[in-house]
Structure formats: structure tokens, C-alpha cells
Chain length 372, copies 2
């Protein structure tokens, strides 16, 4: 058996007897290696008994039969971004580099670098789900994978947006990667397993539990170059993922909504406190994700206005024309600080363009076209 | 004649022959004093003729008759915050400390320190106008004046919100302070003149022109401790006021809206670029305006949840209970890393609270109540 094989087997066994995100254990494994920790725990009266009952070769073989692989540090497929979890502060007592990830699907974890996590409320509004699908599709079309948690609401919409443009998408589950949760997303999760990747730190067969959702969220944040939060109430679980993105120095973004919607209150708080940057579209998310020079957007300038086509002189004159009642060209000239004759000629040119109009005998005033 | 009187008359005359926000002239006046500039300009062939035709005493007397006063630097009523305009970079060739402000109404300009400017789209939606009125009322009730421009849309709603709670409100106009623009707001502007203050840098009788709107915006920003922008399209005039607030180191705030609404795009850009801080309510605006210790909000935590009342032990157990299919208490105990007997007792207590339930023969699962 190679050292790598021995390490993998030790990790399978340790994963079986502990919970995802068990900070102390994972730190020990990161520091001393899985085999050392495994050997040490065998001496423990109760844990040792459970540990020695695990048959890791058999687990791996059973997993392989149903298309599950166990990706561990040192594997070619291991994404180095996950190692950032080693130094990040725990959140709600969960943390650490996962002992390994169970993966089902053709997309390799080392190929989703630069991906975007899209998370948010399970009880999302159509405003939120439409935006999530749209944003995921835009980012997916630019060649980046979309990572989410396959939950109701925003998660589902994000996967759907990626699938719609045939972009790779990764679902990180709280239950085992061989299981489906929620059951209603059975078709979507199967599709992701066929075309993308279904990932879990929880052992095969494991049920979804709150402790595992909390652990799972750190994997979503760590796998991605950035996380965008769309609709999250003040205590939404999505804020836990956002928290992880911040601790991991990932780009954290939030899409605002009406301030009258409680579903956006958590996002607004992230933006308000400076934790997240406001984005309104996939293009803006790409700009923030992009390496320098990549995806840099022109600052949106709004529609062109009639004023845009004018010369400096024409603008100076226009700015001095009254909005309401008209004024004679000499008084426009005085306000503009320009010679009366030049102003008169310019006004005639502006009239042709429909920017000013004669107000009976009172003189020139702005035409509606030029009000902005 | 006292020096102060001579200075005031020189300012009245200079104001009559120049436009608001004329940077070069205003800088000269700030540097050398109004009388010196006045004397120098009398020598100019064309300007001198116009200047000597002004009758400042008569102008002041005529103004006084219609309730207008001319407030200049050195007056008790002159708000020192306006002097910040001396060093601020011009925007669109407008800038400088105003030569004086024409004021109509009982509220004194030196008493509106700490006020909030509320500006935004003229073509606002009801989302925007409702929020503007609400926010202005909240800030007004806390004893701060509301400054705006009496325009359609957000401006009007802001004044309306202040008036509703009988808070002082200040309308800074682009036309003369004796005039009304827009005409449709005639009643509101009269009300503000009776209870608050109508202010203009434009001479009495002056018409509203674009150049004067641009100059006016800097007065709105300078008079206030902070500016909040509610609904502004990408090239809205409200962004000009926001720009001034930034240059004057005032607190700049923006209220977000749906990203699908073009009316909020300018606000989102201000927040996204870090120029403005996101606020969702008058309380949050007050917090940002407040001196340290004043109006500091508790961070909103969302509604209390059933979990909040639990002990640490109860939460540990709850976090290990499956969401979907049930699990026996020994398996919950293993996941939680706690003794089986202690977990069993705790589960019974959680059942009484309605947090967990028995799933047939399979064991314990989370009750709907505990899902968040």
C-alpha cells in the first residue's frame, strides 16, 4: 500500500466516526496527518472500538459502485482553495479543512476554481429567484461554475440558471452525496450528478442535520472565488455562508432589494456594514471576481441624452435658458456670460435641434426634450 | 455706514450682476472681500456700467417688504458650514461660497445644523416617495431639519414628511426665493415660507435655469450634515447633489431599491462604488448622522426564534437531530458527541417544547418549528 493509499483509508475511517467541521479533529489531521491521528484514536477506549469497526476499503468500493469518489488533500483533484480553511476562525464551532469530500459527477473539484457561490433565502420571492437564475446564467456563460446548496428558493434558482446555459454547477449537500435533500429537488440533483458535481463532507448515507448544514456552508464559501447573497432575512442561514466567505477573504457580494421586503434585510445589513459589495447583475459580479483587466465594466452612464451631442458653447447657452417662462436672448447672453450675437445664433441652432423654443413674446425657454 | 453694512450692499450688487456658483468671482470675494471686488469691477468698461446701475439699498428694502432677508458671511445667521464650499473642488464649473443667500421664513439658517438633505428622482415611484416621506418624518421627529429642493417626486415627498411631523424644513430653490418653482408646488412652498425657510442664491425675481439648479445643489449639500439619495437614475440631477455631499465630506447615504428598477440604478452605483452608505430607514440615517454615542442602533437581529430560548446543551442536541427521516436517540447522541442518557432526557424536553418529534419507529426528527 502506498502512503497515499494508507492516508486515504485513514481518512475514510475518521470521516465515518466524526462529524463534518469538527474543528479540533480536523486541525489535528491537518497538523499531524490522518494516519497518526487514526493510530492515536485507536487507543481511546470507546472511539477506538468504533474506529476499528470501520472497513474503509469496503466503504470506498461500495461508494465507487454508486459513482462516488472520495477526494482528499494530495489528490490531483483536491482544490488548494480548501486549504484556506486551515487558518480561518471557526463559525458556530464548525471549521477546519475537510477530512475529504465525497463527490459524484463528471466535474472535477480542481476545475471549479474561480467559481461563484450563489446563496440566499429558501423562502425567496420571485424577484429573488428570477435574479438568482439570471445572475447564475450570466456568470455561467462567462465560463465560471456556479456553486450552491440545492435548497429551496435561491439555491435551486442558481443551479437552474447555470443548467440553462449548460454551465458547470456544483451542489454541496448537508446529507451524504449519495442521498437527495430536499426530496423535491431529486431531479435537479440527479441532473447535477450527471453533468456537474454533487459534493458532501458528510459520509455516504448520512442524514441532513443542522450541524451538517453549518459545516456544509463553509465548503460552499471555500470552493468559490466569491459568494453572492440574494435575499436573506436577518437571521438567514445564507448569512452563515456569507460569514465564511468573509473569513476566507473571498469576494462577498449582495444584491439589494426593496427595503420594504424583509427577505432583503440581511443582504442590506451585509452591504451597509461594508461586509459585502452591492452588485445588481451577473456582469457586476464578474467584474468583482475577475483578475485585473478581466471583465472590467464600463461604468454605466445611463441612456444618451439630447445634451450629449452638443458643443461646449451650445451647452453653455442651453444652461442659461430659463426652464419655465421665456427670456430674451440678451438676458440669456448675460447669464451665460457670452456675447449677445453669438448667443442669438446658437439659440437658433438649438431651436432646430428642438432643445429650446420661443415662449410667445417673452423669448426663449427650454423645450421639454432638454430638461434633463 | 458700518463695515458690515457696506459689505452687505457690495454683495447685493455683485449678486445682481453675476450667476450663482460663479467660481472665479466667489473665490475673489472670499479672498479679498466683497467691497474690494466691487470697487475693482467698477473699473471694468461693461461690467462696471451694469454694476453701478444696481441700487442695493432699494433692493434690500423691496426684499424686506415681501419678507425676504439677505444672509451674508459675518451675520449671526450665516451657517459656518457654508464656508466649507471655499475649498471644495467645483462640479460642472460651479462652486464657491455663495455671495449671500436670500431667505424667506422663520427658520434661521444657523439653526439647521445637523440637518438631513433628502434628494432623488423627480420621476419617482410610489416606493420612493413613500420611503422619502417616511424617512424625513423619522429624522424630523428626532429634531433634525429636512433640506430639499421642492422639486417633483422625492423632494416634495421629503418636505411633506417633515411637515407631517411639524419638523423644520428648508427648500433651496433655483429661482429667486420670492418665486415658486415648480408652480404645482405653490402651496407647499408657501407653507415652507410660513413655517420653515425658502432659500436661494439666485437674486429675487430670478428664473429657474439649469445653471442655477447645478449651483443650488451645492447649497443643499453644504447646508446639511448628510445627504440621502432615494431613487436616482444613472444620470439624475440628484447625483450632482450627491457628488457635492462627497466633496464636502458630508455623510452620503443611499436607499436601495429593486435592481430591476432603473429609478434606483444611480443609487446602487453610489453604494457599489463606496461613495454612499446603504441605509434602509430614518433610524439608520440618524445613526450615521449622529455624534458618537447618539442614535446608535442595536444591530437588527430579526425576530426571536424558538432556538433562542434554549440552553447550550439543548442546542447541541437539537443541531444533531435529522431534518428529514428520524434517528434513534443513540445516533443523535453520537453526532452530538454527548452521553446517550443525557441526550435522551434532553430530547424529551425538546419534544415538550415542540422542537423535535417522533417519526414513527425511526426515532427523532426536527419539528417544523425548529427548522430555522
Amino acid at each position: 500500500m502506498t502512503a497515499a493509499e494508507a492516508d486515504r483509508l485513514a481518512r475514510v475511517a475518521l470521516a465515518r466516526i466524526t462529524e463534518p467541521g469538527h474543528v479540533r479533529l480536523l486541525d489535528l489531521v491537518s497538523d499531524s496527518g490522518a494516519e497518526v491521528v487514526h493510530a492515536r484514536l485507536l487507543d481511546h477506549p470507546e472511539i477506538g472500538r468504533r474506529l476499528s469497526a470501520v472497513e474503509p476499503e469496503r466503504e470506498l468500493a461500495a461508494a465507487a459502485k454508486i459513482g462516488l469518489r472520495f477526494v482528499v488533500p494530495g489528490d490531483d483533484e483536491w482544490p488548494p482553495v480548501l486549504d484556506d480553511l486551515r487558518t480561518a476562525e471557526p463559525v458556530q464551532e464548525r471549521g477546519g479543512v475537510p477530512i475529504g469530500l465525497w463527490v459524484r459527477g463528471p466535474v472535477r473539484l480542481d476545475e471549479v476554481g474561480g467559481s461563484l457561490a450563489v446563496v440566499g433565502a429558501r423562502t425567496a420571492t420571485t424577484y429573488g429567484t428570477d435574479l438568482a437564475a439570471d445572475l447564475a446564467a450570466t456568470v455561467g456563460e462567462a465560463g465560471r461554475a456556479i456553486v450552491s446548496g440545492a435548497a429551496f428558493g435561491i439555491d435551486f434558482a442558481a443551479h437552474r440558471g447555470a443548467v440553462a446555459v449548460e454551465a458547470p454547477t456544483v451542489a454541496v449537500l448537508a446529507c451524504g452525496a449519495d442521498r437527495v435533500y430536499p426530496q423535491a429537488h431529486h431531479q435537479m440533483i440527479d441532473h447535477i450528478a450527471a453533468e456537474g458535481a454533487v459534493v458532501s463532507e458528510t459520509v455516504p448515507g448520512g442524514a441532513p442535520m443542522r450541524i451538517r448544514f453549518l459545516s456544509r456552508n463553509r465548503i460552499i464559501a471555500a470552493l468559490s472565488a466569491g459568494t453572492v447573497v440574494i435575499e436573506a432575512a436577518l437571521r438567514s442561514g445564507a448569512l452563515n455562508t456569507a460569514n465564511w466567505a468573509g473569513r476566507l477573504n473571498r469576494t462577498l457580494m449582495g444584491v439589494p432589494g426593496p427595503v420594504t421586503s424583509a427577505s432583503s434585510a440581511g443582504v442590506h445589513q451585509l452591504i451597509r456594514t461594508g461586509a459585502a459589495t452591492l452588485v445588481t447583475s451577473g456582469e457586476e459580479a464578474l467584474e468583482l471576481l475577475g483578475a485585473s483587466g478581466e471583465h472590467v465594466l464600463d461604468i454605466p452612464r445611463g441612456k444618451d441624452r439630447p445634451r450629449d451631442g452638443l458643443s461646449h458653447l451650445q451647452r453653455q447657452v442651453l444652461d442659461a435658458v430659463p426652464v419655465a417662462r421665456g427670456a430674451p436672448s440678451v438676458s440669456v447672453a448675460r447669464v451665460a456670460g457670452l456675447p449677445a450675437e453669438e448667443v442669438h445664433t446658437t439659440l437658433l441652432g438649438l431651436e432646430v435641434r428642438g432643445m429650446v423654443e420661443l415662449d410667445g413674446d417673452d423669448g426663449w425657454r427650454l423645450a421639454a426634450l432638454a430638461h434633463d
